[in-house]
């Protein structure tokens, strides 16, 4: 995909457009997964009476990356919703990662560094605790 990128040095329009597509696809894909999980959840537990007045925290298997992915693969309804939300969170992260690559192609190393810092902060938040 990166091979097809032809970027001019002064114009960011191409990056902008590709980022726009990336954001839209990420948003639609995650909404579809959340909707799928939501339908399954309501079909199975629609009659249950939820109580969120007291904070217990989402259970561990719904609050770690590995737990969510393995739960979603097994078809667990809440894990599928959570997986969709993860895709949603990952969309802006992918956008920043994309910008690192695009600035590198433009040989704008100042902005490669700037977007790499932002990417590191995002990955730290998602992966390191």
């Amino acid at each position: 995909m990166t091979g097809s990128l032809q970027l001019s040095k002064t114009d960011d329009t191409v990056i902008d457009q590709r980022i726009g597509i990336l954001l839209r696809v990420g948003m639609l894909l995650s909404a579809a997964v959340v909707l799928l999980g939501g339908v399954l959840y309501l079909a199975q537990h629609g009659k249950a009476v939820p109580d969120y007045h007291v904070f217990h925290g989402a259970p561990r298997h719904l609050s770690t990356l590995s737990g969510i992915v393995s739960g979603a693969v097994q078809g667990n309804d809440l894990a599928i919703i959570q997986f969709g939300l993860l895709l949603l969170i990952a969309t802006p992260v992918a956008r920043v990662a994309f910008a690192v690559g695009a600035f590198a192609l433009e040989k704008d190393y100042l902005y490669v560094a700037i977007s790499a810092i932002v990417l590191c902060v995002l990955l730290y938040s998602l992966l390191w605790h």
């Binding site: 726009g20 959340v34 629609g46 969120y52 259970p59 609050s63 902005y111 938040s125």
Partner: protein, 278 residues
Amino acid sequence: MNALEFSFLIGTASLLAGFLGSLTGLGGGVVIVPLLALAFQVDIHYAIGASLVSVIATSSGSAAAYVREGFSNIRIGMFLEIATTFGAIAGAFLATSTPTKAIAIVFGIVLLGSAAMSARKRHLRVEDRPADRLATMLRLDAAYPVDGIKTPYHVRRVPVGFGLMFGAGTLSGLLGIGSGAVKVLAMDEAMEVPFKVSTTTSNFMIGVTAAASAGVYLSRGYISPAIAMPVTLGVLAGSLLGAKFLVRAKTQAVRIIFAIVIAMLGLEMIYSGWTGRL
């Protein structure tokens, strides 16, 4: 109230919030937390988690439309995201150690501020000043289309803007909101970025900022799927609908009404937080 009714009601309310938020440009996320906490008796931490996720959804949805028009400035956005993402992580950690009472009161104050901000006059762009050294070094100056003609602009007071952005990030991480108002304030007032560029760039940055605190929220169990699902889908659908109407609707009246609603929710949050009802 069973799960089906709960999801339906929250989904509908979120749809309305997203619709009004995008129509007025005030963002739907800001009313989600008070709505969940006050009307649905949801614990404020779950409410903040659900709101944050919906903020990412709207940002991606609207930014996709905006970038095509060529208003947003990707360099300004990326540079300031250093400040907002660090702020967001600080805010998210702060949220885990701040008592509910204090979060509710700070939230109320931010709501009042947002309402006041929306009453503010959009100042017309002042005449172009000479280039700023730091802005030139960071290559923040750019051009944007005015009536189809590319018009250059110069960015100023970068350190002030950067500092305000750290604050915007912290509020976003603490309260699960987009902090669009503070972001626009930093770019508009401090850095003198043209209004259209600052709004669209801010919209763009909101998702990245929120994603930075989302990781912390997720691992602390703030993101509960059964609450986040109707909120995210509702706000997203509402904001996409709102963007469609935006072209046709006369938004001034809607804007004033929504600002009053936000201000009242702000007072209610402060009162409920103060009296410990949340």
